[in-house]
């Protein structure tokens, strides 16, 4: 898709977007039973009569999940309902052990909050207030693998079900319609999900591992002409990365604009997002929509958190990420752009921890945003997944300060550490990475280089100091790069009795 197609949308239409985000909570046990929530176990090993929906079994609410949801609600400035209920969402599908999902419907735990998100524009950072409709709890379904077809249930010869995921606690955060973003709608959507993720992590209620599918987003988009009432919306389901959220909004805006321009109507429907093409395809229309026959879950009593408990949880809230970012940006004295880069790289915590371990602010940022970002990029992983610790950086930095390592050597040390060659000390000795600072051995190397290249020596003596590079280079080569180049140069000039 070209950016012009998108720009073209904005000449005629204004978008309204809405996001429903499902996030797996980081509880040790499932929403309604004591089974482990650990990811990646052998299929159907983290199951029991409850999460398998065996006849006679009954759910019992995980208190930690309720606590996490309340804390999330409080962090989003929601009101916490003094009385809320679970409901049953009824539909037949083999990934649902009971053929109904226990969810919250018209009586959610948290309502009416907001989250401020910042988008960097050409005119500087711009803050949007995203209003939150509700935060509620529900259980995840099992995982289906379809065989013999196109990987979908239709045309499959058989399907396998893994119920390890069934009953994992989810919270769903639903925004109110977000209008007034104009062409920034895709960025606002992305920034919102990123901010939500930061918030969950800061609260410690989820580690939000998107690659494990622990965050899934349903993206609602509609377009209208300025001054007219909102258009018909579509809902693109199961968009599961930050980048995809942005793309889904963008492609759906372009698709809808084309239809509207051609005089076609937008059909209220769910749509599928194709990760590879970035396009959305038609799913189920409103007319075909299932009737979920919601009714209050009679196997559970209402969740009625006392004011006392809610207030107690309020005291456990950490500094909200946006507040923390503003504070750190001021302390580190960096630009909005640099701060945005740090956040986008997922380096905020790492840099802060590195500084806390005794490294200068500048050095900490330099390593994480420079060398480490490059390596993470090459490896296609997150910074946090690199096997390098703040203490490693402190150790290397102090060796640089004492002149035992140069920047170049330090990079090689980290390369080794990240490659798994051992600790900082081990890599230094293994790769023989100490700076050669012994004057006599350097002078010997300089003498050797001068006698190898007598013409150069003459040039330098005659005042052509720039020629000294060739000798310095030869010395660096002889010392396998472990000398301080500036020092070699100074020694060389001293040796030849030349001054600058």
């Amino acid at each position: 898709m070209t950016s012009t197609a998108f720009d073209h949308v904005m000449t005629e239409f204004e978008p309204v977007i809405g996001l429903e985000t499902h996030i797996e909570l980081g509880t040790h046990t499932k929403m309604f039973c004591g089974c482990s929530t650990e990811f990646g176990g052998d299929p159907n090993t983290h199951v029991c009569p409850v999460c398998l929906g065996l006849p006679g079994s009954m759910p019992a609410v995980n208190r930690t999940a309720v606590e996490s949801t309340i804390r999330m609600g409080l962090a989003l400035s929601c009101s916490i309902a003094p009385w809320s209920r679970f409901a049953r969402k009824n539909y037949f599908y083999p990934d649902m052990p009971k053929n109904y999902q226990i969810s919250q419907y018209d009586e959610p735990l948290c309502i009416n909050g907001f989250l401020d998100v910042t988008v960097i524009t050409e005119d500087g950072p711009k803050v949007f207030r995203v209003e939150i409709e509700r935060v509620h709890m529900e259980e995840d379904t099992g995982k289906l693998t379809h065989g013999g077809g196109a990987g979908r249930i239709h045309g499959a010869t058989h399907s396998l079900v893994d119920y390890n995921r069934a009953g994992i606690p989810l919270i769903e955060v639903v925004t109110k319609p977000i209008s007034g973003t104009g062409s920034l709608a895709p960025e606002v959507a992305k920034a919102y999900v990123a901010e939500l993720r930061e918030l969950m992590r800061a609260l410690g209620v989820s580690d939000v591992r998107m690659e494990e599918g622990s965050l899934r987003c349903d993206v609602n988009v509609s377009l209208s002409r300025p001054g007219q009432s909102w258009g018909t919306r579509t809902e693109t389901k199961n968009v599961n990365s930050l980048r995809s959220v942005e793309r889904a909004v963008r492609t759906e805006m372009v698709r809808q604009a084309e239809r509207l321009r051609n005089g076609d109507r937008i059909i209220q429907e769910t749509r599928h997002f194709n990760e590879e093409t970035g396009n959305t395809t038609s799913g189920r229309s409103k007319e075909q929509a299932e009737d979920y026959r919601y009714f209050p879950e009679p196997d559970l009593i209402p969740v009625a958190p006392s004011e006392e408990w809610v207030n107690e949880l309020r005291t456990t809230l950490p500094e909200i990420p946006s507040v923390r970012r503003a504070r750190l940006q001021q302390v580190w004295d960096i630009s909005d752009f640099d701060m945005a880069s740090v956040v986008n790289a997922g380096a905020l915590d790492l840099i802060e921890q590195t500084i806390d371990s005794g490294v200068s602010e500048q050095a900490a940022r330099k390593w994480w945003m420079g060398e480490f970002s490059r390596i993470a990029n090459e490896r296609g992983c997150d910074l946090v997944d690199l096997p390098v610790q703040p203490l490693d950086i402190r150790q290397v930095e102090s060796l640089i300060a004492s002149g035992d390592l140069t920047d170049k050597l330090a990079r090689s040390v980290f390369e080794g550490v990240i490659a798994g060659e051992g600790s900082v000390a081990e890599v230094i000795s293994l790769r023989e990475l100490k700076v050669v600072s012994d004057d006599s051995s350097l002078i010997a190397a300089i003498d050797q280089a001068l006698s190898d290249q007598p013409d150069i020596a003459e040039k330098i003596k005659s005042g052509k100091i720039q020629a000294s590079g060739a000798i310095v280079g030869a010395v660096m080569k002889a010392t396998k790069g472990q000398a301080d180049a500036a020092k070699v140069r100074a020694l060389l000039l001293e040796q030849l009795g030349v001054s600058e």
Partner: protein, 505 residues
């Protein structure tokens, strides 16, 4: 209780559970002997009664020997240790077939035990097997079982009530001294009434539902069944109490039902007669016995007061919206994917087609009727008119009870409008069948507790009549207080329990 027990098998099966337990404790007889006597009795009479769906002689005897050892070593001490019991087939029993009376669960052996089953095991109560029932507890006659009807020991041409007809018939034919039932709209009490036995629906939340296959979660309650009030109380005390695996179970002390069953004293108690639960629709002989029981209670020193529960007339309608709605959801899991039978899996059908074929083949007509009713009632656009309205009626019925209990300590009514009817008589008339539960349903809707106990035989057909005692939630002890007083007076009158009049099989 202190009488010396005769160890002849024919005598053992006619003893009360309390007598048996005491004899086992004193070493006069072993649990193995008592269990064997009941298993022999089952072999002898159950071919004509069909109370049991599953019996495993070796397993039961093995367990009885373990219990004998446990008692001898002092590891098991409960008032019913060593006594055998029959379990309604709605209870999940680990490794033991559990069908809920339905073909759809044929062959399923649960990998876990219901909380009740765990408690009974810990108390040294020995399971004899699983009893017949209307499919998924939907019915009042046990004719809706997928495995054929159970017959009433008083007259084998008649129904034993339902859904727990198997449990009640097992008691009435001396195949078991104790049984567990479940009661969603009267499934413990109505079978007790028509078989001349005792059954209690405890307060909702009084006994854990964990492991009891749900019919209508907000109405279901398991409870004790026996042949006399004391045995019922002893069993009640073992199975009741908080269970963290059932969120709806009540976390407060169980009322002292044993002491209440010993008291047999109603002096000074105010007992309300529910105006709406007599007269039209009630068999003449049922009302005669009911009125005689009221006179007896008055003679024992209770004050009889008539009370009106205006909204009871809507109870049946509300019940037949709430029950099918919850059932339609609870029964959705029976789809052939994980347990029970599977039909249509020939490699050409879609998963929906397999689910559909399995449910078509596995469910009986009554189950399908209620699933359809419930699916309709919960549908968008109809929810408020049906499910929503029914919940309002439920609140009004609760208030009727609350205001009645401001004036009286307990309420009474006939348990069922008629004595046992003939097998097949009401099978084609669901509404007539539903009317059997007219007096028992309001209690489930309100969540309080009730007992049915035998008060005599209807003169016109010589069949047992039951009286229902109703108490407020968590006042289960009052049921036993009134029940034990009435039972003692009736035993005095008859020279023994009514059940001793049951014809020999």
């Amino acid at each position: 209780m202190n009488q010396k027990i005769h160890t002849m098998e024919s005598d053992l099966v006619r003893q009360s559970a309390a007598t048996l337990a005491s004899a086992i404790r004193q070493g006069d007889v072993t649990s193995e002997q008592v269990t064997a006597a009941h298993l022999d009795r089952i072999e002898q009479v159950d071919p004509s009664v069909h109370a049991f769906l599953y019996v495993n002689r070796e397993q039961s005897l093995k367990r009885a020997r373990e219990v004998d050892r446990g008692i001898a070593e002092g590891n098991i001490s409960s008032p019913l240790a060593g006594v055998p019991i029959a379990l309604k087939d709605l209870l999940a029993t680990k490794g033991v077939p559990t069908t809920c009376g339905s073909r759809i669960l044929e062959g399923w052996r649960p990998p876990y035990n219901a909380t009740i089953v765990e408690r009974l095991e810990a108390a040294g109560v020995v399971s004899l097997g699983k009893t017949n029932m209307d499919e998924f507890a939907m019915g009042s006659s046990t004719e809706h079982s997928g495995y054929g009807p159970t017959r009433n020991p008083w007259d084998l041409e008649r129904i034993p009530g339902g859904s727990g007809g198997g449990s009640a018939a097992a008691l009435a034919s001396f195949q078991a001294p104790l049984a567990i039932g479940t009661d969603t709209g009267g499934s413990i009490r109505q079978p007790a009434a028509v078989t001349g036995t005792v059954g209690v629906k405890p307060t909702y939340g009084g006994v854990s539902r964990y492991g009891i296959v749900a019919l209508a979660s907000s109405l279901d309650q398991a409870g004790p069944c026996a042949r006399d009030v004391m045995d019922t109380a002893l069993l009640h005390s073992i199975i009741a109490g908080h269970d963290p695996r059932d969120s709806t179970s009540i976390n407060s002390p169980v009322p002292d039902v044993i002491q209440a069953a010993q008291s047999a004293d109603v002096r000074g108690m105010k007992i309300g007669v529910i105006k709406q639960l007599q007269g039209e629709g009630f068999q003449r002989g049922v009302l005669e016995q009911f009125n005689a029981a009221l006179d007896l209670l008055a003679g024992l020193g209770a004050e009889i007061i008539e009370v009106s529960c205006e909204h009871f007339q809507y109870a049946l309608g509300a019940y037949y919206l709430i029950l099918p709605s919850e059932a339609s959801s609870n029964l959705a899991r029976f789809d052939g994917m994980r347990f029970g039978i599977r039909r249509g899996d020939d490699g050409t059908n879609s998963v929906e087609q397999v689910m559909s074929a399995t449910r078509e083949a596995g469910f009986g007509a009554e189950v399908k009727r209620r699933i359809m009713l419930g699916t309709y009632a919960l549908s968008s656009g109809y929810y408020d008119a049906y499910y929503g309205q029914a919940q309002k009626i439920r609140t009004l019925i609760k208030r009727d009870f609350e205001s009645a209990f401001l004036h009286v300590d307990a309420l009474v009514s006939p348990t069922a409008p008629t004595t046992a009817f003939k097998i097949g008589e009401k099978l084609d008339d669901p509404l007539a069948m539903y009317l059997n539960d007219i007096a028992t349903i309001p209690v489930n809707l309100a969540g309080n507790c009730a007992m049915s106990l035998p008060i005599g035989l209807a003169p016109e057909d010589g069949l047992p009549v039951g009286l229902q005692i109703i108490a407020p939630a968590m006042a289960d002890d009052r049921l036993y207080r009134v029940g034990s007083a009435l039972e003692a007076a009736l035993v005095d009158q008859w020279g023994g329990l009514l059940i001793e009049e049951v014809p020999a099989l």
